[in-house]
Amino acid sequence: MPERLPDSALSEPLTSDAVFHEAPAEVVADALVAEPGGVAGEVEGALKRRLGVAFWIAVGWLVLITLLAIFAPVLPLDDPDAVGSGGKWEGTSGEHWLGTDNLGRDVMSRTIHGARVSLVVGFAAVAGGLVVGGFLGLVAGFKGGWFERIVIALADILLSFPALILALAIVTFLGRDMWKIVLALGILSIAPITRLSRANTLQWSQREFVLAARTLGANNRRILFREVLPNVLMPMASLALIGVAIVIVAEGTLSFLNVGIDDAISWGKLVFEGKDSLEQAPHVAFVPAGAMFLTVLALNFAGDRLRAHYDVREGLL
């Protein structure tokens, strides 16, 4: 079978010392990585391309809105609470780019300051949910037994409550400042994250490399945090972005029902305030609603693309 020879030389040229002596080191190195490196490089390149322009636009919007929110206090914006800095329900002008509301406050400034609260609530609630739910799911999926049964039963109970009613109950009980809203929405996000994290853990802890780590003497904690967690983290992180989008909308809903944050402005609250003047000055409600819409869309889109990205990589492995 002479035609088999090049084949075998390609797949494992590593043991033949002859190759090393005949060619300069760089050439050999390139030849050696050609097969594995080439394939992996191509795949990664394809993935980058497949993330697409839309993905980068979404990321661009998120970066922009985040930067605006962070630097809102130092930007040359009107005081969002300065009553009468313009006339009532003014339209777009050089002074107020996106007009003013019923008390003459600058809508753009209020929207950007509202982003601070909306984004913080969204990310903080999901981060809290990730830490608690992710950990519970990880341990439940890995250990199994009674612990898993209890955790899953609790998650099911939490999930079977209508989310909004539960949030209303928590907020009514605790109060309405920002961190209490974060707490309420964070608690809501624990159950779905727990289930997801458990499902991912189950899948990954069956992999042979986990058993391999065990045969090398790794204990449970080590296996859980060094072998399983990093693998679970990637798909979880992309799903968390979608979770942030859901929480931002949920916070908006609470605010719109006038049970949201009472000591700061958020997008939901701005929409709530603008709803009475929809006929006279629709921009007062639509500008913050649009900001929320674009942000949620961007989060969903980016999260979805990333999830697909990791699915593909998993398939390749």
Partner: protein
């Protein structure tokens, strides 16, 4: 390897006269909803330092469960275990997972079948090697890294320093299996389990990996249990071969003896199922008819009888014991062994009656 500071704890590191591994009547049964699965049902053997035992059998014969039983890797729930496993004279069959942890990695290690799944996809190769080194041998980070580089070089990976910083998906299957071998060898185990180490690999790479295992074994004076379904894989590489069927060893002998005086019909059937280079093309592969027995309700008598061309009424009623014949350490469990007058007579009787399940196959014997 005995680093001194914990010599007291590692009293089992001291050389003893006991063989490296003695396995005596090991049984591993799983409780399932259907009943008790007798995956390993009374297996005994001994393995000396630096020697290789080939464990051969088809899927479901219990060979993988056997190696996992010896390593103590099976879950504790719903597993019924029995028998004795002595590692350097120390009984390890009843040790807890925690106690076994001091054996894993430093005393015994395992190479798995599929290098695609036995490496952590999100951890750099170097980290995967150095981790166990730092954990077990308590060496510095730099030292561990140098050792890892040397290990990669020794398993035939060029440019090891650069490879340390790569992820598994950047490597080919053969390379990954080399890495898993490097990881298994990192802490200098005395016993290496290789569970079908070449099954998932390209044919052209298989021989290289087996040669690598053999050379590493020689250099390190390490014993190896090579589990495979392919008699061809162990033929030139094992010192002894144990053929397993339905959770038991049916024939065991030094490799040379096994191939010259094969006695068990199952071993014979396995050997015949290997395609031969000398055969003209389009020769039909000689498969073993039927399927392995149900391990929940195994038939009485010899488990291989329903598929055996030599089977007689006695085989279906009485289970033959594994008995040593002669002085060469050749053991087999058969009432009508291949190549003996009884066996030939039994085969002739079956062929005359037209009832031999493998009549066509066996006629060539």
């Amino acid at each position: 390897m005995s680093s001194g500071h914990d010599a007291a704890e590692r009293s089992y590191d001291l050389p003893t006269d006991a063989p490296l591994l003695e396995v005596d009547g090991v049984k591993t049964h799983f409780r399932t909803e259907r009943g008790v699965v007798r995956a390993v049902d009374g297996v005994s053997f001994r393995l000396e330092r630096g020697k290789t035992l080939g464990v051969v059998g088809e899927s479901g014969s219990g060979k993988s469960v056997l190696s996992r039983s010896i390593m103590g890797l099976l879950p504790r729930h719903n597993v019924i275990r029995d028998g004795s496993i002595r590692f350097e004279g120390r009984e390890i069959a009843n040790l807890s997972t925690k106690q076994m942890q001091e054996f894993w990695g430093t005393q015994m290690a395992m190479v798995f079948q599929d290098p695609m799944t036995s490496l952590n996809p999100v951890m750099k190769v170097g980290r995967q090697i150095t981790e166990s080194l730092q954990y077990h041998l308590d060496v510095s980070k730099d030292f561990a890294r140098d050792t890892a580089e040397a290990l990669l070089a020794s398993v035939g990976i060029p440019e090891p320093r650069r490879r340390l910083n790569e992820f598994p998906h950047q490597m080919s299957g053969g390379m990954r299996q080399r890495v898993t071998i490097a990881i298994a060898l990192a802490c200098g185990p005395k016993l290496l389990f290789a569970d079908e180490p070449t099954t998932a690999l390209d044919v052209t790479v298989q021989a290289q990996i087996l040669d690598l295992l053999a050379s590493q074994q020689r250099e390190r004076f390490m014993a190896m249990i090579l589990v495979t379904h392919d008699l061809g894989v162990v033929a030139g590489r094992a010192d002894d071969i144990a053929v397993m069927y339905a959770g038991r060893i049916v024939e065991k002998a030094p490799t040379r003896v096994l191939f010259t005086e094969m006695r068990h019909p199952y071993s014979e059937a396995l050997l015949k199922s290997i395609p031969k280079l000398a055969d003209p093309s389009h020769t039909r592969l000689q498969a073993i008819g039927g399927r392995p027995p149900d391990l929940v309700n195994p038939p009485p008598g010899c488990k291989f009888a329903p598929r055996c061309p030599y089977a007689q009424p006695q085989c279906r009623e009485e289970e033959p014991p594994l008995v040593e014949h002669g002085t060469s350490g050749h053991e087999f469990a058969c009432w009508f062994p291949v190549g003996t007058p009884e066996g030939r007579e039994a085969l002739a009787r079956n062929q005359a009656a037209g009832s031999a399940p493998l009549a066509g196959t066996a006629a060539g014997a």
